[in-house]
């Protein structure tokens, strides 16, 4: 099994962006914790949306950049923010119903169920071959893993 090397890797643009995203995750997590503690639910919701988006960006960021997924995730952030604002500010009574629900509740269903499905999950599928795992990456990884796999195959009974 390979061992860790004591050398630090060269800091490049890719790692700097990821480092920046992790700092954004830390800042939004801290803000979220404080906002929840203080009972500021709209602020907590906004920071939750920011935290989720930062984690998505961290997962999507690759040496060649964020690719098309970053656009989708920016739209997802906007949808989350709009949705949480609507949940707090739209009427929650039954004078007018949308989809059989009070407007604020319907906003939750559309913004937290439908929008992430369309803006986060579907783009993963659409851009998988270019933005998640392309053929060149896979070929390089398979070549790198070949000696380990062969060694394991040899030791098998």
């Amino acid at each position: 099994m390979a061992t860790q090397t004591p050398h630090a890797p060269a800091e490049d643009g890719f790692e700097r962006v990821r480092g920046g995203l992790v700092l954004l995750i830390a800042a939004s997590a801290l803000g979220d914790l404080l906002a929840m503690w203080a009972g500021r639910s709209l602020l907590a919701a906004a920071l939750t949306a920011l935290l989720l988006t930062a984690v998505l960006m961290l997962g999507a960021w690759r040496p060649r950049g964020g690719g098309p997924l970053r656009i989708w995730y920016a739209l997802a952030l906007a949808a989350w923010l709009l949705c949480f604002a609507a949940m707090h500010w739209l009427p929650a009574d039954t004078q007018r119903l949308v989809l059989g629900l009070p407007p604020a509740t319907a906003a939750a269903l559309l913004g937290l169920w439908l929008a992430p499905l369309l803006l986060v999950t579907l783009p993963y599928v659409l851009h998988f071959n270019t933005a998640v795992l392309d053929a060149a990456d896979l070929a390089a990884l398979e070549a790198a893993a070949a000696p380990e796999s062969a060694a394991r195959a040899e030791t098998r009974p």
Binding site: A26, M36, R62, G100, P102, T105, P116
Partner: protein, 488 residues
């Protein structure tokens, strides 16, 4: 229960046992037992992931808390629209590619590969065991309750029969049985949920009619946060979205897919199925609340919402599939957790202490420990009363708080250090245990305000600890093969 419901349930359990026996004939190695021989297809992985993440709670607990607290409780299940994409995006390809380079079988294996630390592996194994204990106890109790209800038995008999059925297929068929019973279960969950959704709308007189009836009785119930503190609902959304990065019953399945390119369609299939299955939560809880608001007898316990609705309003065929589905969901989820728990005991903990059991030993011991865990889960479920509920609540929170930062962020950030991982694992384990046990036994005044969900607090604290300690300790590059995978 009617003979029709009993007959459908009996046929369903026979099918589960049949899958178990089929799987047992294909389980010959340690890899077969713990990771289904790494030969599972995309649809099976997606459905099994969805059903093991949602479990029987979707059908009983979900409508129950919806009945009790309103639409805000949907923020527990809405994260499914994004959480599967999160898991696939941050972890799926990296865990699968790591497993191509190294002989990884468990989540603590991945932690060890990332940080080259037996301490981190051992703590991850402890977190897995504690979480598994919680899930197993609740799943076993749920299984026993439903079996007792279907066949008019005592709870002891219900739990005992359930444990025997699970033991037969888990000990024999290992994770292969777990995966394929989950697949059947996932398909049944979606179909039963759609049929139940249509029925609930019809019985309740449409969503608008139900909402107006409830609002006349309890206006806040129909709001977006229901009767919950908004902060608690937001905390649920956060923990159930990001917490998936630490759920071994989900991320462990990334080792099992037969080909890395097949990871493409998984999150969409899992998310769509989860959203459709969640319609049962939305509709049954609302229908029962509306019926009570219109004069029906109130429920003695909120968890009675779905069983009573199905018994009073559903045709026997649908009710039969529903009840059998709930019991089978608990069984298949219990089976997955049995294998994960067994692997923590026979593989991860010995490796963390520097012992290297042979593959044959792990395979044999895995079966024995699975059987022992099965018996222990039954005993805990029957003996621990209220504690079972607490164990179940902290299962997801324990995995989220202890494993998600070290695994989910750690495999995507090369600056993460072993010290950061160990510190966040400790914060997750100790924080979750301390807050949940204090809440149960009331040793001290609750240190958190009412609007702050306990698991959200520990999850955020653990994430902050992971990042802060990593930045404060000397960087150490991951091993070359791990670094290659992390850069993809």
């Amino acid at each position: 229960m009617t003979p029709t419901i009993m007959a459908i349930s009996a046929a369903y359990f026979a099918l589960m046992l049949g899958i178990g026996l089929w799987a047992a004939r294909r389980t010959r190695t340690m890899s077969d037992f713990f990771v289904a021989g790494r030969g599972v297809g995309m649809v099976a992985i997606a459905l099994a992931t969805m059903s093991s993440a949602m479990s029987g709670f979707l059908f009983i607990g979900g409508p129950g808390i919806q009945y009790q607290a309103g639409f805000g409780t949907l923020l527990l299940t809405m994260p499914a629209a994004v959480s599967f994409a999160l898991a696939w995006l941050l972890l799926a390809k990296r865990m699968k590619l790591l497993a191509m380079a190294r002989p990884l079988l468990t989540v603590p294996d991945a932690i060890h590969a990332r940080y080259d630390s037996n301490l981190a592996r051992g703590l991850a194994a402890v977190a897995v065991l504690l979480g598994v204990l919680g899930y197993l106890a609740t799943q076993t109790l749920a299984m026993g309750v439903v079996l007792a209800r279907i066949f008019d038995l005592s709870l002891v008999w219900g739990v005992s029969i359930g444990v025997v059925i699970v033991a037969i297929y888990a000990v024999g068929g290992g994770m292969i049985a777990g995966i394929y019973t989950d697949v059947v279960q996932g398909a049944v969950m979606v179909l039963a949920a759609l049929a139940t959704f249509a029925l609930a709308l019809e019985v309740g007189g449409g969503m608008g009619g139900m909402v107006r009836s409830i609002a006349a009785d309890s206006p806040d119930w129909v709001g977006p946060f229901g009767l919950l503190e908004p902060g608690v609902a937001i905390g649920w959304y956060l923990v159930f979205a990001l917490g998936i990065l630490g759920q071994p019953q989900v991320v462990h399945k990334f080792y099992m897919i037969d080909e890395v390119r097949k990871l493409r369609w998984g999150p969409l299939l899992a998310a769509v199925c989860a959203v459709l299955a969640s319609l049962v939560w939305l509709s049954v809880g609302t229908a029962m609340r509306a019926l009570v608001a219109e004069g029906a007898e109130p429920l003695a316990q909120a968890d009675e919402a779905a069983p009573r609705f199905m018994l009073e309003y559903a045709p026997a065929l649908l009710a039969g599939v529903f009840f059998a589905g709930v019991a089978a969901a608990s069984m298949s989820t219990a089976d997955s957790f049995l294998i994960i728990g067994a692997s923590a005991l026979v593989r991860d903990l010995p490796l963390a202490f520097g012992r290297q059991p042979s593959e044959a030993t792990q395979f044999r011991a895995g079966r024995v420990v699975t059987l022992l865990l099965c018996v222990a889960a039954g005993a805990i479920a029957l003996a621990s009363g209220q504690l079972v509920a607490v164990l179940g609540i902290f299962g997801w929170g324990m995995f989220a708080s202890s494993l998600a930062p070290a695994l989910g962020l750690g495999l995507n950030w090369s600056r993460a250090t072993t010290a950061g991982a160990v510190a966040s694992l400790l914060v997750g384990i100790i924080g979750t245990l301390a807050l949940e046990l204090n809440h149960l036994f009331g040793w001290l005044a609750d240190p958190l305000p009412a609007q702050l969900y306990r698991s959200a607090a520990v999850f955020l604290l653990s994430t902050l600890t992971f990042i802060a300690v990593s930045l404060a300790t000397p960087r150490r590059a991951p091993a070359a093969d791990v670094a290659r995978v992390m850069a993809v």
